[in-house]
């Protein structure tokens, strides 16, 4: 950079210079796409409208936990039985569906709709890098709702207990269950949401489609189970996509199914619902991979 002294200061020649610094490999490219995806989903560096849904859902996920801990601090005994981890996870499962149904399409659809792939794939980025990065981004933000609030709740319960050490000793297995349940729900909702998003370049269509399939499948399963009579009708319990995570969580935390519900009468236990979720995830992952590998800039 040359410089010329002038009475009022220094004039710098900002001519073009070749880049001679370090260059990183595949890891950097995947991280860059993943980080941009997280920012996009959370509406960071974007206008306020894009922040409303993700931050609203985050407030709904964290708000009760923080409020509960606050109440425990102020009125320890009054809030003793406010809600269990299983109850909270069932609430979170609803939020997760909404969150994943909006975040998944946000990650995949605009790149195709705005033709940004024409630029991304002209860098040394493979379809696999792209898929891996988008999946990592969605897993990270979904885990933010599926795991972190419950871990915070567990820590809050521990720290506000009469004896933190005793609480921790007696309930440590709950922490393991929180991590297992949160991870299963994170993977289930993330991959299914991305698979749905890979089918269209319109965010609204993907979101509405995913919610429609989840809620519609639940309604269909209940209608079939309670109104039709046929052999093996209990198997329709697995048709209810929105019911699978909650039933697995109930089983994991030892909570019984509500009396008279489809889950109660179908007679399956948690592992059955876990297998059903694994099948759904496998199908969704295959669909997602097929769609992303076929992407053309």
């Amino acid at each position: 950079m040359s410089e010329v002294s002038a009475p009022g200061g220094t004039i710098y020649d900002r001519g073009y210079r070749h880049y001679e610094g370090p260059r990183e490999g595949q890891g950097r490219r995947v991280r860059a796409i993943a980080l941009a995806g997280v920012r996009r989903v959370l509406g960071l560096k974007r206008n306020w409208k894009t922040k409303v849904v993700p931050w609203g859902l985050l407030v709904l996920a964290f708000g009760p936990v923080l409020a509960f801990i606050g109440v425990r601090v102020l009125f320890a005994e009054a809030a003793d039985e406010f809600f269990t981890y299983a109850q909270y996870l069932r609430i979170v499962a609803g939020l997760l569906l909404l969150f994943a149904a909006t975040a998944g399409p946000e990650l995949l659809c605009p790149d195709r709709r705005q033709n940004v792939l024409a630029l991304i794939f002209t860098r040394p980025v493979t379809r696999s890098d792209y898929l891996l990065a988008k999946l990592a981004a969605l897993l990270a933000v979904v885990a933010l709702i599926a795991i972190v609030p419950l871990v915070v709740l567990f820590l809050g319960n521990t720290l506000t207990a009469d004896s933190a050490a005793t609480y921790l000793r007696q309930n440590l297995d709950d922490l393991g269950k929180i991590l297992i349940a949160g991870s299963v729900l994170t993977v289930f909702y993330s991959i299914v949401a991305l698979a749905a998003a890979s089918l269209t370049d319109r965010r609204a269509v993907a979101t509405a489609g995913l919610l429609g399939v989840f809620l519609g499948s639940s309604a269909l399963a209940n209608i079939l189970f309670f109104t039709a009579q046929f052999d093996g009708r209990r198997w329709v319990a697995f048709l209810s996509l929105s019911g699978l995570p909650g039933r697995f969580v109930d089983w994991l935390f030892g909570a019984g199914f509500d009396q008279g519900t489809l889950a109660d009468q179908a007679g399956f236990t948690g592992p059955g619902y876990l297998v059903a979720m694994a099948v759904v995830v496998a199908v969704a992952a295959a669909l997602l991979t097929w769609r992303v590998l076929r992407l053309r800039p």
Binding site: Y16, N115, P124, T126
Partner: protein, 322 residues
């Protein structure tokens, strides 16, 4: 030295033969890739980037076989695609920095380099605004910044002046000239605007219907390496053409004139022998556009439109581009 080479390359989309066994050599410097819409220009560029798989033939870019190592090619090539391809709700600075990271730059150098390249292409404070609010010209600048930010050795620009107003087009052509002249980056410009090629390129590849019509320096392709004249001799009819041919002159109609290659003395002698009035004789060479239309017509494409009559004799219409 060649920066890209294509041998016997073919690509078919269903029933459409986009490229048919083409051989192209792209030398250092600025090369124009010209042809009508659908001629196969964008297909050729995508094959050079490894975004498409050829049906046959091979391509190499900067010494890398595209089929074997497309990622090495893409890490050294910058690409400005045709049409809209920018995210509307991201600032130009953020997006260019993101694309720098995809080129392998760490985050901090990526941000610094993005700011520097945005400045170089004429995006100053605007780079902090969302790209969706940019004019077409500004969006083309952002795309150019994206193509440059990872410091490529070769730029592939697909219709860089498409949709731009005259001033924006001039600015973009100036930028392209600077990229080659000052930055030393080799450039391949795909366009259907031959005037753009004449303005910034030193070499040209003409494609039509999936075939290469001509390639070489602009002077060679346009035929401006040999002397020529635009003449109006007699009625400029077939007998005039025959007489000129008999005198060893290569002549063909070009608008209201006959375009003749050869010495002026021979033209004068034909006129004197036949007693035909020589009403007009100006030094003139075919423009790139005339050459392209003639080659296209010879290849069975669109017949050449009759170019407008050249303005009467500005001093030496030699090489004047319309």
């Amino acid at each position: 030295m060649l920066v890209a080479q294509v041998e016997d390359l073919s690509k078919r989309y269903g029933t459409v033969q986009a490229l048919d066994r083409v051989d192209v050599e792209i030398a250092q410097g600025c090369t124009g890739l010209v042809g009508s819409n659908g001629a196969g220009k964008s297909t050729l560029i995508k094959l050079l980037l490894g975004l498409l798989v050829p049906d046959q033939g091979r391509a190499s870019v900067l010494g890398h076989d595209v089929a074997v190592d497309p990622l090495a090619v893409r890490s050294q090539v910058g690409y400005l695609p045709e049409g809209a391809c920018l995210p509307g709700d991201v600032t130009a600075a953020d997006f260019v920095a993101f694309m720098a990271q995809l080129g392998g730059l760490p985050p901090r150098p990526a941000r610094e380099r993005a700011a520097e390249v945005c400045y170089q292409v004429g995006l100053e404070e605007e780079r902090y605004r969302a790209v969706g609010g940019f004019s077409t010209g500004m969006q083309q600048r952002v795309k150019l910044a994206v193509a440059l930010v990872h410091d490529p050795s070769l730029l592939l620009l697909d219709e860089p002046t498409d949709g731009m107003d005259p001033q924006g087009r001039e600015d973009m052509l100036d930028l392209i000239a600077r990229i080659r002249g000052e930055l030393g980056i080799d450039v391949l410009v795909s366009t259907h605007l031959l005037g753009d090629v004449e303005r910034v390129c030193d070499r040209v590849v003409m494609v039509h219907g999936g075939h290469v019509l001509a390639q070489g320096s602009i002077a060679e392709v346009a035929g401006t390496t040999e002397p020529g004249f635009g003449i109006q001799l007699g009625n400029n009819g077939p007998e005039v053409l025959a007489a000129l041919a008999a005198a060893g002159l290569e002549a063909r109609p070009s608008g209201n004139d006959l375009l003749v290659k050869g010495a002026s003395d021979l033209i004068r002698d034909v006129a004197a022998e036949r007693g035909w009035p020589l009403r007009r004789m100006v030094p003139r060479a075919p423009s790139l556009e005339e050459t392209f239309l003639r080659l296209q017509a010879a290849a069975g494409g669109v017949p050449p439109a009759e170019p407008a009559s050249p303005a009467p004799a500005p001093e030496a219409a030699w090489g004047v581009r319309r």
